[in-house]
């Protein structure tokens, strides 16, 4: 994973976009233009205690004068959203990385179907603004409880017009999104992008199982849900030195690497961002247990994320 420049950006504006959702715009104190973000990209916010949190950019990707994120307060979360909501006021300065994109619009697509649930609208909003400006063929399905709890709705209505389809699970007249409407194989060249709660993402993936390989793209904000997983101890080889490290059942490979002085880059620590990914080889009879949501199946054949992924037997990391 390539390193990214970390810039001290100033909070230029803070606004409440929906109950519990705050929209923040960051600008550079010296430079009028920031590294240009692609639609779907995210940035890292570096918290004062050293933690790093990823947030998708939801503004217009063509506007490089600032970065805009929307953060939903998660009272039971790991603390990143609480810090953003409680500490970030206009004038605050925060280290923010240059954008990285794991959720790209497909260059070859002739038509785009965007599906967002709740705060999952953030990367989808950037995509929709971009597609609308380019005059591309797209439709946006936005699943919310009701209008009042839908962040960024007015901007998206203005940008997308009739291409925006709002689906409500609550209110007087619910109109739930039915993923089965996606089930018939689409016209050739159609790509689908989905971001939202696991339940929505899983339903969309199930409904689009018959779509051509590589035409369905999902963005995860939460780690893989596998409460039944029982970690086991395994051996970690280091290709450059030939050393073998023992990873106990209760610790991550990344922790053990750190303890032995290997400064592998890392960010989220939960298998979402891909910052710590590296190449690997396995001995005969050993297997890698991928537990991240950052790498696709093609990458998993030779790359792994030591923050959450493990092995049965022995794995040699290409570091």
């Amino acid at each position: 994973m390539t390193p990214r420049l970390i810039m001290k950006l100033e909070v230029a504006a803070v606004a409440d976009a929906a109950p519990g959702v705050r929209v923040l715009t960051f600008r550079h104190r010296l430079r009028p233009a920031l590294p240009e973000p692609e639609p779907g990209a995210h940035v890292d916010l570096h918290l004062p205690d050293g933690r790093v949190r990823q947030y998708s950019l939801c503004g217009d990707p063509a506007d490089a004068t600032g970065y805009t994120i929307a953060v939903k307060l998660e009272p039971e979360g790991r603390g990143g959203s609480r810090w953003v909501h409680q500490q970030l006021q206009p004038g605050a300065v925060v280290p923010v990385s240059a954008p990285r994109n794991h959720f790209r619009l497909a260059d070859e697509a002739r038509q785009h179907v965007l599906v967002a649930g709740g705060i999952g609208i953030t990367p989808i909003a950037a995509m929709a603004r971009h597609l609308a400006r380019c005059g591309a063929a797209f439709e946006l399905h936005y699943c919310v409880r009701d209008e009042a709890s839908a962040p960024l709705l007015p901007e998206l209505q203005a940008a997308c017009g009739t291409r925006l389809h709002l689906w409500r699970s609550g209110g007087d007249v619910p109109s739930r999104f039915d993923p089965h409407r996606l089930s018939p194989p689409p016209q050739p060249g159609t790509h689908l992008y989905c971001c939202g709660p696991h339940r929505l993402v899983d339903a969309v993936l199930a409904a689009t199982a018959g779509w051509p390989t590589g035409s369905v793209h999902v963005e995860h904000f939460a780690p893989l849900y596998d409460a039944g997983f029982v970690p086991e101890a395994f051996q970690l080889g280091i290709a450059s030195t030939g050393a073998t490290l023992e990873v106990p059942a209760g610790r991550s490979a990344l922790d053990v690497l750190r303890e032995h002085g290997f400064m592998q880059p890392s960010s989220c620590g939960i298998g979402v961002c891909g910052a710590c990914e590296c190449g690997y080889r396995v001995a005969d009879g050993s297997t890698v247990i991928h537990r991240d949501v950052a790498l696709d199946d093609t990458a998993r054949a030779h790359r792994m994320t030591p923050c959450v992924s493990r092995a049965r037997g022995r794995v040699v990391l290409d570091i």
Partner: protein, 167 residues
Amino acid sequence: MPGDDRTPHWRGTLLHIHVAPAASYEMEPLDEATLIAGRGIEGDRYCLGTGTYSKLPAVRDVTLIESEVLEALARNDPPLQDAPLLMEPGEHRRNLTVRGVPLAHLVGVRFRIGEAVLRGARLNFPCRYLEQLLGRPVYQPLYNRSGINCAIEQGGRIRVGDRIEPL
């Protein structure tokens, strides 16, 4: 003395001072700075031990690059790129940008900047890390002209515009 071959004849100027608090952080411009002998520039990653290469043994108190090199890149000279390569001051991640200082000749040489005395340690080498950070192909264009790492023999204040002279 004029005519004495042992006396180097050059005199340069300090154009920019940049520091960064940690690896990957954007370099920040300063008008003046304090050099700490044997350590680095106050507030810089190599003084704080938080740099990408802080764990390596080589001397890296302060790094210098010639503005003449940046101007050559901006002319695409030699023509290694499709287009001129524009690097803003500080994007190269060296601490001090200087003019009129023959850095390639300063390995083992002591010279003065402002109140401080530096000693040239090792010619710098471009790194892929910089290329990745900038997202631009700067590795090859900076080959053999990527500046010098120096030890700080005598600390003190330095300011943009300070004269740089051999000792």
